[in-house]
Every structure is written in C-alpha cells, then in structure tokens.
Symmetry: C2
Subunit: 337 residues, 2 copies
C-alpha cells in the first residue's frame, strides 16, 4: 500500500495543506437564506448585467476566484497560483474553462457533478502535500437558470415542480490552499466509488446521492479508525430534506449515528419560508456553504473538526431519457483546526 | 516554489511512475488505419451489440480498462487499483461515470476535452509520486456516433462536412501507472493554461488547439531547459492536417523547430485513402494512439524519449451558438525509457 494511504479509499496528508482563504458568492435568493450573511457578495438578479445566464454564471465563479485570491494575497497579476482546479454543471464545464482562460493559471478541469468542490480540494491537497504546488485555487459553481434549462426545463417555462425536487443553487465557492501558514488544515481525503441503488427519477437526486454519501462516510470512518463523534460537524453536500433523512437511516443500518453533528448544505441554504421544495442542489451549494458559512463558523470557534462530504448525481439528460439509473459519488475531506 | 516544480507550469517526478500496461480499442474504421495493427481489439461495427451508441462507447472504455488491468496483473476482482482517472466527451462525462460504477474503483472524473488523457496521466503521476497511490488506471474515450450528434449533427442526417473538419474517432485508450517495476516512465508533467486565438468555427478545432499545443510545448522546453531535439518523438493529440501545419508555423515564431520528430495523432490515425477530411479528433484519439501504437513503437525500441501533448478544444454547443470563441488547452507528459 502506498505510504500515505489508509485503507482502500482514504489518504492522509503528511503536511496538511492550509485553507489560506475562501470566498462565497450567491444569488439574491441564496443571500436571503440563513447563510447569506457570510457570503462575500450577493447579487441582486440572475443575469448580473451579462447577455446570457451562462456568462452570468462565469462572472460569478470569477468573482469568487478573485475574492479568494485577493484575501490570500496571491492575486497578482499574474496570480501566484500553481493550479486552478474546478468544475461546474454545464455541458463541457464551460463555466470553468472560460474562467480558466481569464485567470491564466495552469488548469485541470474536473467533473464530479455536485461533488466537484471536494474533488478539487482532494486533488489540490495531494498536489501540495506531494511537493508539486505551493498554492492551489479550488472552486465550483452552479446557476439556477443555466442548470434548470439544461437538465429539466427553462425556468421561463414555469413547469410545476415535484414536491421532493431540489432547487439548483445560484452560487460559487472557492478556496485557496497553501503549503504553509495559518488556518484550518485538510488532514484526510476519502475518494468515493460510484454507487447506484436504482433511482431513475432525475427529480429525486437526494435519494440517488444519499447511498453514496453514507458509503463514503462509512469508508472514511473505517479507514481512519475514527467514530462519527470524532467530528463536531459532518456535512453532506446537497441531499436536501428527503435525502438527508434517507442518509440518517442508511447510516444507522451500518451502525453509524448521524446525530446533532450532522448537517446538509442543501437542506440549510434556504429558509423554510422560501418555498424551494426539498432544498438546494448544484455544484455551487456545498462550495458556497463551505467556503462562506461553515469556514466562517469554524473561524468563530464553533467547530474544530469538520468532515465535508460533497455528493454528486452522475446523470445526464441523455442517460435518464434512455432509462438508465442515476449513479452517484461522494468525496470527503476532513478539515481540522 | 514547490520542491518538485520547474518553472510555472512543469513538475518533475522524483520517482517517475512506470507505465506498467496499456490497452487500446477502436472501431472498424480506426482499425483499418495505420495504427490499427497495434490495437488490442477492433470492433466490427459502431453499436457493439448494445441498444445505444452511448452504451457502446461505455463498453469500449470498459474493454480498454479490463484489458489494461489484466495485462498489469491487477484485474482482481476487486481491481487492485487506487484510483480510476478518466474522462470523455459526452455531457457530464457519463461514459466514464458509468464505467466507474462498473469498475468500483475510487474515481476522480476529469474533463479536458481531447486533452483528457494527458490530464489523467498528469494527476495519476503526481498521486503516485506523492505517496498517495501505488496503482492508477488512466483512460479516455470517444465515439463517432455519440460525439457527432452531440456537437454537430447525428451521423444519420448525412450532413455535408467541411473539408477542414475532423472526424471524431471511435476509440479508447488506457494506461496502468505503477510506483515501481519495469516499463517506460513518466518523468515530467506540464499543465496547460487555457488560450484563445479567436477561432469561432466549431469545425475548425485544429486551428483552435494549435496555439495551445505550441504554448505548452514552448513552456515545457523552457521549464525543463530542454531543446525540441531532446525528444525523439513530440506528439500532439489531434490537430490533424491543418492544425498540424499551423502548429509548425507557430512554433517557428517561437524559435522551436518541430521537425521530423513531430507527429500528430489526428493526422495519422486514418490513412489518406479513408476520406475522413482533415483527420481524426476526439478524446479517444490520442489515448488509443499513445496506449496502442506509440507505446508499442517504444517497446520495439524505435523511441526512447517521447513528449505527448494532448490538446483539447473547450467549447460546448451552447458557447458556439452564443457566438463565443473556442478556447483550448494542452497538457504534456514526458515518457522516457
């Protein structure tokens, strides 16, 4: 087994990379939610003065990138960053690719659906701890109007939503990782395997992703020899109301108690009175919630050991139209003070 | 600067990972080309007995994965592999995600368009050299019928092709990297920045990608202090006939002579008499050509130092329909005996 490996899916970071800075931006609707006060920037509309929603999404990711680079003191130009590691939900991750063009940082494009943010932190941590990078910019974004029309219906169509459907979040989150300095550190990374429990309904992504989340949490705890209460916060990406309940039950079947320390970003990004169905989803959800709200909570001293488990539903409109199941993956990073 | 970094975009591998095994599979048309004799498997049709072209593409990638795993002696089950690193051209890289479900190996999904194969080798090399993995499976795939209908027109439509258009290759290539053992080694990795020289025509991807290829080659040579003739083979992914000419000219402007040692996979995968326009393209092109033909040539003693520069056009149908340019990226890996 490789030197820094613990079990089949987890690695430990010998010199844990530091979260040097983070930034979160979001739409007006997300800004009204409980975490909005910790966003660096809240936009007043969905178009951001651009001529397409796609360009608005890109501007949002770029804003989050520039904010984090400035906070970390590596904005340049050129940015003093070794890699830009990011992804989004649009076909061919064009939000990220076009942002990479503007940033002019060596770029590795990632796709893990809504698990992309933790995938970026995973690759970034190993690049730094492996001696290949000093500073890495990680990010993910999603936009309600671009994702809904690509995966479901254009929002202008006004299609009626199923009560268990989630709302794609308009938000982006970024983190600057560095090899040294002050800040919380990424100590362990657990990379998910793709799992499939037979869900076919693309509106029911929480149910598709819950088994992946629980699988990765169980493997992480087993690989590290930790119990769930080692962490004072276990955070899933965007299972939302129903997926969260399912995760708690599936975890219990594996003798893991997801109790008070367990929270889900999708279930928390909107208030109950915002009428968004089961909650939020989208690659920007866990990104903005972690980079904005949870790291701020950590800085306020409320948490010391956080396991972030971003979950992704690996469908495309083509696969579900062809009647295939929705496989899912979850990647976890342990962030400790 | 990080310990294993040379310049802004290149890293060196302290204990260069070994290419333990590779596999290439391709369609009948690709099998008829000059490299076909080195493919492990040539299919007789495009559908492979499946009920959709998408499932055929997935079967092709899985065949290439299983072949390489068997050759490397790590087939399992379960496969003795720490990571599956791969991508493809379909929306949400579903070919790869569904293959990852079947393989049940910890999975990081990548997207770099036709540069994905070198992106996978890059991430895989750093994971191994960083102490995080012993064995990594890298791959990429593309399928003519799935890609053409997603990006251009369904092949059944019979649309007339522009003479400079490239043909998406039906092929997949995989490489098993290991921390030790016998075989050629990956010694350096150069990660590309996204560049854009203003090309807007989605049929002219060779022209969009040539500047990225030359930029990455120039940076690689500058970062490593090597001249172009250090390598007995410099290989671009799929610039094809016109992009290849453009790359030679752009390189000359930077005082780099791409001479006899310079070859392009897209310009070589089909014979001149196969009437495929400018040549081949697609994420499977450089993957199958490298994993099949070029590594076989290396094993036959014809080459000792090879720089593989996979090139990707980072467009989506949405971006070109919205009138945007086609940015591109190129990632390079140095393979040495």
């Amino acid at each position: 087994m490789a030197r820094k490996r613990l079990g089949y899916q987890t690695v430990w970071l010998e010199t844990p990379p530091v979260i040097r800075a983070s930034a979160a931006v979001g739409g007006a609707w997300e800004g009204r939610g409980p975490a909005g006060k910790d966003f660096d920037l809240v936009y007043q509309d969905l178009i951001l003065g651009q001529d397409s929603f796609e360009k608005a999404e890109r501007m949002m990711l770029l804003d989050a990138c520039h904010l984090a680079l400035e906070k970390a003191g590596v904005a340049g130009p050129p940015p003093k960053v070794d890699y830009f590691l990011a992804g989004d939900l649009l076909n061919q991750i064009v939000t990220t690719s076009f942002s990479a063009l503007s940033l002019s940082i060596p770029f590795l494009g990632l796709y893990g659906a809504c698990a992309t943010f933790c995938e970026a932190l995973s690759v970034g941590s190993t690049l730094i701890d492996g001696g290949f990078a000093d500073t890495v910019l990680c990010g993910a974004a999603s936009h309600n109007a671009t994702a809904e029309r690509q995966y479901r219906y254009p929002t202008e169509y006004g299609g009626q939503r199923k009560p268990y459907a989630q709302t794609t979040v308009t938000a982006a989150g970024t983190i600057v990782l560095q090899s040294g300095g002050e800040g919380p550190r990424i100590t362990h990374v657990t990379t998910g395997k793709v799992v499939d429990l037979g869900i076919k309904d693309p509106y029911n992504q929480g149910a598709a992703m819950a088994p992946a989340a629980v699988d990765t949490i169980a493997v992480h705890l087993s690989d590290t020899g930790r119990s769930a209460d080692y962490y004072d916060l276990i955070l899933t990406g965007d299972l939302a109301a129903f997926g969260r309940e399912m995760a708690i039950k599936l975890a219990l079947e594996r003798q893991i108690v997801l109790g008070k320390q367990y929270r889900d970003c999708g279930a928390m990004i909107f208030s109950d009175d915002q009428n968004v169905g089961a909650g939020g989803s989208g690659a920007g959800c866990v990104a903005a919630m972690t980079a904005g709200y949870w790291l701020s909570e950590m800085a306020r001293g409320k948490y010391r050991r956080m396991l972030v488990v971003a979950t992704g539903a690996l469908l495309s409109p083509t696969t579900f139209q062809q009647g295939e199941n929705i496989p899912a993956v979850a990647h976890a990073v342990a962030i400790e003070v």
